[in-house]
């Protein structure tokens, strides 16, 4: 297919529409037995016209394996340690470190050191666990917001919210980022409480630590690591100390029925 050379320069030129030649129709045009009428055509989703292009698309999807191996190189780097004070996790790749950092150090509650997967959940947590104004207001109005992005519902109690999550949003009843607060009153800011989330009901099962557990501290804001310890049953061994590179949070622990 030979294209006129001027076409390429036209493409490089500025926008513009051609001044149309005069239009002059004769009523006999397209009149029976003829049928032509100039018309824009639309094709709906499942139309056969799209078959070839759709097949091409799916061949591409199914070939993605090839493309993935052409993904950017992941160089192994010499081992390095997480720089967050109190964390001594070691890495040999930047991607692993990135995920570690975001999981454990990024959305961390400055009151109780719990880590959350997102800013949104952290904000909800701070509001509900550490904001005394919230406690007061929640006695008068519905303050417990639904956790699902895009749902504006609010509830009187965290149990009501959980029921809503389960019924309307088909969330699991033991959703790990919706632990109800057990005791009243917020933790003292800065207290290094060993926050231990509840077991999801099944004691026989041990998971690799609980979702909201973290043990890293930022040196600058680190208070005395003694503070209030509201653990039950198991005590934190005295040899473990926050702020001294303790990696306790990364070791598996027995489930503790601890509470805030």
């Amino acid at each position: 297919m030979q294209l006129p050379p001027a076409l390429h320069s036209r493409l490089a030129g500025g926008p513009g529409a051609a001044e149309p030649l005069p239009v002059e129709r004769d009523p006999a045009a397209g009149a029976p037995p003829f049928r032509f009428a100039a018309r824009r055509v639309r094709f709906p989703r499942e139309h056969e016209f799209f078959e070839d292009g759709d097949v091409l698309r799916h061949l591409y999807l199914q070939d993605v394996l090839t493309q993935v191996t052409e993904a950017p190189e992941r160089p192994r780097v010499p081992e390095f340690t997480c720089q967050v004070a109190g964390c001594c996790q070691v890495f040999d790749s930047l991607e692993d470190y990135e995920h570690h950092y975001h999981t454990l150090h990024r959305n961390v509650c400055s009151f109780c050191r719990r880590a959350f997967p997102s800013v949104h959940l952290l904000d909800v947590h701070i509001l509900e666990w550490h904001d005394s104004l919230f406690q007061i207001l929640s006695e008068r109005q519905d303050m417990y917001q639904c956790l699902v992005e895009g749902c504006a519902e609010k509830f009187k109690t965290s149990k009501d919210r959980k029921d809503h999550l389960v019924r309307c949003h088909l969330y699991p009843a033991d959703f790990r980022f919706d632990k109800p607060k057990k005791s009243r009153g917020p933790a003292t800011p800065g207290a290094a409480v060993r926050a231990s989330a509840e077991a999801p009901g099944d004691d026989g099962e041990q998971s690799g630590g609980d979702a909201m557990e973290v043990c890293s501290e930022h040196a600058a804001s680190l208070p005395e690591p003694v503070g209030e310890r509201r653990t039950s049953g198991h005590r934190i061994p005295s040899t473990i100390c926050f702020g001294q590179g303790a990696s306790r949070g990364f070791k598996s622990t027995k489930k503790k029925k601890g509470h805030q």
């Binding site: 051609a18 397209g30 100039a38 091409l56 993605v64 895009g150 998971s207």
Partner: protein, 499 residues
């Protein structure tokens, strides 16, 4: 209406045995294409993506992954949960993940009591690397062709969605591909994902600056938009979210345009537009101008021969433009949202030439756009003439019957505008081409040629004389007995003889 019926017949040609083999995606029996075509006709065309990092496979020792039995699976799970050393726990999960590459292991895993529960526990643990490995295990399962295996992943979906608002790009990418695979598995899966808030979660995640995340998101969204119930159940809420603006933003041409990302979102846009839910909204967001500029950009890429894989993007973009042009909003003459830049026509021809060389099966789609551009536009018809594009158009006639019909239709669009247009069509190479198409064994090709002839005879009387001189009458006579053609043949014979 006549031309619509004609175009319906074009589509039928794609399926007919008469179709010229050479110019289409290969149709060998037993080839993957055959299976895909069959699936599409049964409206069951689904594909899944598998994200597997082969580089790390090699680093792990490169031996072939074994099928794991119940005991081994339980062993690895226990180690992963309760092992004393992090590395040991990770290694256990890696072993499990590699085993899960086998369908047999997958089956054993899902039927093992408590296994998914444990995996979800590891997915939500605070050990970042265990989380990642657990997510990879889930991903393997999501890719399974067996419904039971994929559906076994349902307990994890609320977490996968929660993690989309995190920050770790690799992890989010993995969650997105996993979700994308699960989405197409069954309506049952979607009946859970939709109330769990997948649309708002995607709308939040699309603001990520990471290209890998965006491509994965586009993939997941395209899967969601492609499902049968999408027009009623999904597209309205997608249109009501911030997704349309972001999709169009990600399709803006320029140095930041990434082909992998653009391909996914162009397909998303196609599924939305061809569902005809609310295309006016997309037009009001500047969809038409974005797509037009993208078309120009793609033509530029062809000119610079930076066109690897470009057909994957061109196809949905052409479809979107063609369908948008049929919206009522487009009928407002001189409105803000008009597509009037003749560079669009220039770009389209550059793409047509590209298709002819690389992917002839897409020529009909390109010509469909040309039809929609020229049908109601004297300006674009004039552009075709002033930019000397009639001859290149005629060069496409021999490609196939479907292409012939579309080319003739576009020529009719030009001719029906009157004498000023026909004078530029004849004299010229059109005559001998028409004599050729009139000799086609295909009725629709001949029929469309007759329509064009009528217009030419009407607006350019000298054409009839030339036609007679080139033995046109003899060619017409061949069709005198054909029921679908004879009235028109007869009328033309009369017109020609009375000149």
């Amino acid at each position: 209406m006549p031309s619509f019926r004609l175009v319906e017949r074009f589509a039928a040609f794609l399926l007919s045995a008469n179709f010229i083999q050479a110019h289409h995606v290969e149709r060998k029996a037993g080839s993957p294409q055959t299976a895909l075509r069959k699936a599409r006709r049964e409206q069951q065309l689904i594909s899944k993506r598998l994200l597997r990092d082969d580089a790390s496979e090699e680093a792990e020792g490169g031996c072939v992954a074994m099928i794991l039995g119940e005991t081994e699976i339980q062993h690895f799970l226990r180690l992963a949960q309760q092992g004393t050393e992090e590395k040991e726990r990770e290694r256990a999960l890696v072993s499990l993940r590699r085993g899960l590459q086998h369908p047999e292991t997958q089956q054993t895993f899902i039927w093992l009591e408590g296994s998914m529960r444990t995996l979800v526990g590891l997915l939500t643990s605070n050990q970042a690397l265990l989380q990642l490995e657990a997510a990879r295990c889930l991903h393997e399962l999501s890719h399974s062709e067996q419904s039971a295996v994929a559906e076994a992943c349902l307990p994890a979906t609320s977490y996968l969605l929660t993690y989309l608002s995190g920050h770790s790009s690799d992890f989010i990418e993995l969650c997105l591909y996993t979700l994308g695979n699960l989405i197409v598995e069954s309506e049952a899966v979607r009946r859970q994902l939709l109330p769990q808030g997948i649309v708002p979660a995607l709308a939040a995640c699309i603001q990520s600056p990471h290209l890998t995340v965006l491509e994965a998101l586009g993939y997941a969204l395209s899967q969601l938009l492609q499902v049968k119930e999408a027009p009623e159940m999904i597209i309205p809420s997608v249109l009501g979210s911030t997704l349309p603006e972001h999709i169009l933003r990600l399709l803006q041409p320029g140095p930041k345009l990434n082909l992998g990302v653009a391909v996914e979102f162009a397909w998303c846009l196609h599924y939305i537009i061809c569902s005809q839910v609310d295309n006016t909204l997309l037009i009001s967001h500047g969809g038409l101008s974005t797509l037009g500029l993208l078309l120009l950009d793609m033509a530029g890429a062809v000119q610079r021969t930076e066109d690897t894989g470009l057909e994957l993007l061109a196809c949905p973009v052409l479809r979107c433009l063609s369908n948008l042009l049929t919206e009522a909003a487009m009928e407002v003459v001189g409105g803000q949202n008009q597509l009037e830049d003749e560079r669009v026509v220039a770009a389209l021809f550059i793409l047509l030439q590209f298709f002819l060389q690389k992917q002839p099966s897409l020529l009909p789609e390109g010509l469909w756009l040309l039809n929609n551009l020229t049908a109601n536009s004297p300006s674009f018809c004039t552009s075709l003439l002033s930019m000397d594009l009639i001859e290149p158009l005629l060069q496409l006639l021999p490609v196939s019957n479907v292409v012939s019909i579309l080319v003739l239709t576009v020529l009719c669009n030009v001719a029906e505008k009157g004498p000023a247009y026909c004078q530029r069509l004849w004299p010229g190479p059109l005559l001998s081409c028409l004599i050729g198409t009139l000799a086609s064994p295909d009725i629709e090709v001949v029929g469309q040629s007759l329509e064009l002839l009528q217009l030419l005879f009407l607006y350019q009387p000298e054409a009839a004389k030339d036609f007679l001189q080139q033995s046109g009458l003899q060619v017409l006579e061949r069709h005198q007995e054909e029921a679908q053609l004879q009235d028109r043949v007869h009328a033309l014979q009369q017109t020609a003889l009375h000149q």
